[in-house]
């Protein structure tokens, strides 16, 4: 990827919040972060609360200064800029928030107009722009209402319109759907997708919900205790998570892997060896499995699993209870592994 296609770059970035004494010691929330966010993509950052992801996104527009390292947005190094210099940078970066953070003292139109006023855009031009933005988010007829008259989803739409007012090329979304119900979350996510596809705006979305990542992210970074533990295309992380943290997030949304309690129950009702096979995007995946079972004369009972779609490709896993003659299951597993299947045997099963 040529350097110009990298929109945001983190180089060995750390962030420590200074303490205020013995009872409140300094806290290092981010350590050695290296990230490259490409122009035009939706980049998801997932982590549990307290993992440092909200701090990470605030470093991009300088709401929080870095402790060390370098952050580049476009061709511009933004880490180390003064508050005054950052103001110009921030006008090119939109931001939306978990609690929307709308101005209660202003109307819907007034909220969207605010960044334009700050940027010194004059009245007639401002009104035109506000109308266009409200139309884009589907709230033109609510222009003169106040935020508290709107539902949560509508308030976030106003937040999005406000964030887009100064035609930013980058949008930061900090837990933008965490305060919304599932249905409204869908609406806001599809609006964000529209922002990305139609306006070509790069989106960095912070979330603790893997479902959000599954629905809109092109690429993902998994953050745990201040480190990026895994990053890559959303499909790769879903199809083959490498770290325990990523695996936990993936199974939290796909629910394709049996939990310990489920395994316990399965062992009682199924005497065979319990093996989980990761679904792969290969031709005749299911068929090649069946053929292998037949060839080795192994009885495979499908006991658990789930298949979902991500970026038009299948992800998930299937858990079988395998029974067969002396050594046949071992040979089957060996053959499948050799054929590139990703297997996981749950130990402790009765033989």
């Amino acid at each position: 990827m040529p350097p110009s296609d990298i929109h945001v770059r983190f180089e060995d970035v750390t962030k420590t919040f200074p303490g205020r004494g013995r009872k409140d010691p300094a806290q290092q929330v981010l350590r050695g972060i290296d990230l490259e966010i490409h122009r035009g993509e939706i980049f998801g950052i997932i982590g549990q609360s307290g993992a440092g992801k909200s701090t990470l996104v605030r470093l991009i527009n300088g709401l929080e200064p870095v402790t060390s390292g370098r952050i580049t947005v476009g061709d511009r190094v933004v880490s180390g800029l003064s508050e005054r210099q950052l103001r110009a940078v921030r006008r090119e970066i939109g931001m939306i928030f978990q609690q929307f953070n709308l101005f209660r003292s202003r109307t819907v139109a007034g909220n969207v107009a605010y960044p334009l006023k700050v940027a010194g855009v004059k009245q007639p031009e401002r009104d035109r722009k506000v109308a266009r933005l409200l139309d884009f988010v589907g709230l033109l007829q609510r222009a003169n209402d106040h935020p508290e008259q709107l539902s949560g989803g509508q308030q976030q739409r106003v937040g999005i319109a406000r964030a887009l007012a100064t035609d930013p090329s980058l949008l930061l979304a900090d837990e933008a759907t965490s305060a919304l119900d599932p249905e409204t979350t869908q609406d806001v996510l599809s609006l964000l997708k529209q922002v990305n596809r139609e306006l070509g705006i790069t989106i960095v979305i912070i979330t603790h919900e893997m479902d959000v990542i599954r629905q809109i992210a092109d690429r993902v970074a998994v953050i745990d205790s201040g480190h990026v533990v895994e990053s890559g295309s959303a499909y790769d992380i879903f199809a083959a998570p490498k770290t325990p943290e990523a695996t936990r997030f993936v199974s939290s949304t796909l629910r394709d892997r049996p939990s310990a309690a489920t395994l316990e129950r399965l062992r009682v009702s199924h005497p065979g060896r319990l093996v989980t096979v990761r679904v792969q995007d290969r031709p005749a995946f299911q068929n090649s499995l069946s053929v292998a079972f037949l060839q080795r004369d192994v009885t495979a009972d499908l006991v658990f699993g789930g298949i979902s779609e991500l970026q038009d490709r299948p992800v998930g896993s299937l858990t079988y209870s395998l029974t067969g003659g002396e050594g046949s299951v071992d040979e089957l597993l060996k053959q499948l592994r050799a054929d590139g299947f990703d297997l996981d045997e749950h130990e402790g099963a009765s033989r």
Binding site: N61, L63, E83, R84, R87, A88, R90, R91, I93, G94, M95, F97, Q99, N101, L102, F103, R104, S105, R106, Y114, P115, K117, V118, A119, H146, R162, A163, A165, T166, L172
Partner: protein
């Protein structure tokens, strides 16, 4: 009611209006400024500055608990340099404006502190500078409670203005004492009391009305 001197009463009302309105406006404006500085320089806030905050905070804490009568006496040297006199309506108005400013500063600071920090973050993210955020985001966001706070201060100023007579400042309070109680002329006392009540009620009513409008309730 033969002894009721309407001429003097009118003058007294005029003096009270003068003292109260100047103190509310001047004290209100200086207090707003002090309150904004207190809020903004608080460590971690928009214009975070520990020395300025501590200095101002201590100053406000020193001035605020001083009873107004004593404050009036205590600042006489300052009064003399600033307006050239220590008695009369102007002197009392000067002292009252100053005293009100310190009270207002706390009310402004406290109400600004209740504004959701997320809103400030949103304004910063939009590229706004600190002074612009203070004036175009924080003050409007806290406007309802601020109006109620100012109403509270207005009533306190009416209260303190009754002590103006002690320093030749005149006003309704002075009228009630010199023409009323000291001459055992009770109608004068009660008419004065009624005038004070009407003034306070009118102020409170206006304040409530404006606050309701600002809060859209």
């Amino acid at each position: 009611m033969n002894d009721f001197d309407w001429e003097v009463f009118r003058t007294a009302i005029g003096q009270t209006f003068f003292i109260v309105s100047i103190s509310v406006v001047v004290g209100g404006l200086i207090g707003l400024l002090l309150g904004l500085v207190l809020y903004a320089t608080r460590p971690g806030n928009l214009l975070s500055s520990r020395p300025v905050f501590i200095l101002l905070n201590v100053l406000v804490n020193i001035v605020r608990p001083i009873p107004f009568v004593i404050f009036l006496v205590a600042i006489q040297p300052l009064m003399l340099t600033a307006i050239g006199t220590t008695i009369g309506t102007n002197a009392v108005t000067f002292a009252l404006s100053l005293s009100a400013a310190f009270a207002v500063s706390r009310i402004v600071e406290q109400n600004l502190l209740t504004v959701n920090p997320g809103v400030i973050e949103a304004a910063r993210a939009a590229g706004a500078g600190p002074v612009s955020i203070l004036l175009t985001v924080l003050v409007p966001e806290a406007l309802g409670p601020l109006i109620l706070g100012y109403t509270f201060i207005f009533v306190a100023i009416v209260d303190m203005s009754a002590q103006a007579g002690l320093f030749g400042g005149g006003g309704i309070g002075d009228f009630a004492i010199t023409y009323g109680s000291q001459r055992y002329n009770w109608p004068v006392v009660y008419i004065s009391v009624a005038a004070m009540i009407i003034l306070v009620q009118a102020g409170q009513f206006l304040g409530n009305y404006l606050a309701r409008k600002a809060l859209r309730r």
